[in-house]
């Protein structure tokens, strides 16, 4: 039981740290995006320093799209971490088998699907802005990610069925 409590506490801490990191990432990306217009000259120098070669206008446009992609990723991660945090909190409260957690798990599934689908715009950026070179998002498909999406949706369904069963059992005399 002590080990389980430690695990729950560590999970809660990990989710909190990840949420803070995600918030910082979101802020950095938003600032980067704003800087690409407000401080266009410095932004260009920064891109040249990154070692990407070729058309500078294309590089700037590509970098802006990458930052927009980063914002979308942070938004997806925000939903995922918020729901995960609420689930961990319900575990530490001692009653995780509630209908709300089945909904949370489903929302985590949607967030994961959204994050997986971001591979497509990532690939499009890589394809549309070759000047970005190695700085472009990785275009590789990740089968593990798709399996995780499927698994979370199936688990959400199982969780919902289990919660309904428990509710029935609780009302059985």
């Amino acid at each position: 039981m002590i080990n389980r409590d430690k695990l729950v506490r560590s999970s809660a801490l990990a989710v909190r740290v990840a949420s803070i990191a995600n918030g910082a990432f979101l802020l950095a990306v938003a600032l980067g995006l704003a800087a690409s217009w407000v401080m266009a000259g410095r932004f260009t120098t920064l891109l040249l320093g990154a070692g990407a070669g070729g058309d500078l206008a294309q590089m700037t446009a590509g970098a802006r799209w990458m930052l927009v992609l980063g914002l979308a990723m942070a938004a997806g991660a925000f939903v995922l971490l918020r729901e995960l945090g609420a689930m961990v909190a319900s575990v530490s409260a001692g009653d995780p088998f509630v209908a709300a957690n089945a909904d949370r798990l489903r929302r985590i599934g949607w967030a994961l699907l959204f994050l997986q689908l971001l591979d497509i715009p990532g690939y499009l950026i890589r394809w549309s802005f070759p000047a970005l070179g190695n700085a472009a998002p990785d275009a590789g498909m990740s089968p593990g990610g798709w399996i995780a999406v499927l698994m979370v949706f199936v688990l959400a369904r199982i969780f919902a069925a289990g919660t309904a069963l428990r509710d029935d059992l609780e009302g059985t005399i």
């Binding site: 509710d167 029935d168 609780e170 009302g171 059985t172 005399i173």
Partner: protein
């Protein structure tokens, strides 16, 4: 729910209290109250059997169906 629990009437007839019944069938008074007030979602055959044995009655005397 169209199933009405008429445990009260049978208890009255037998001159028994809910507390005595709960002690006789080893089910908590709280759970038996839930059953009596019709708030239970389901009843186990074992519970029904125990109640019928102690109250010497048929399941139909405890549960009644009433159309909505």
């Amino acid at each position: 729910m169209p199933i009405i629990v008429t445990l009260d009437a049978v208890l009255d007839r037998k001159g028994m209290t809910l507390t005595q019944l709960s002690e006789a069938i080893d089910i908590t008074l709280a759970n038996l109250s839930i059953l009596k007030t019709g708030k239970a979602k389901a009843i186990r055959f074992s519970t029904l059997e125990a109640i019928c044995r102690v109250l010497d009655c048929q399941p139909g005397e405890i549960l009644t169906f009433e159309r909505d």
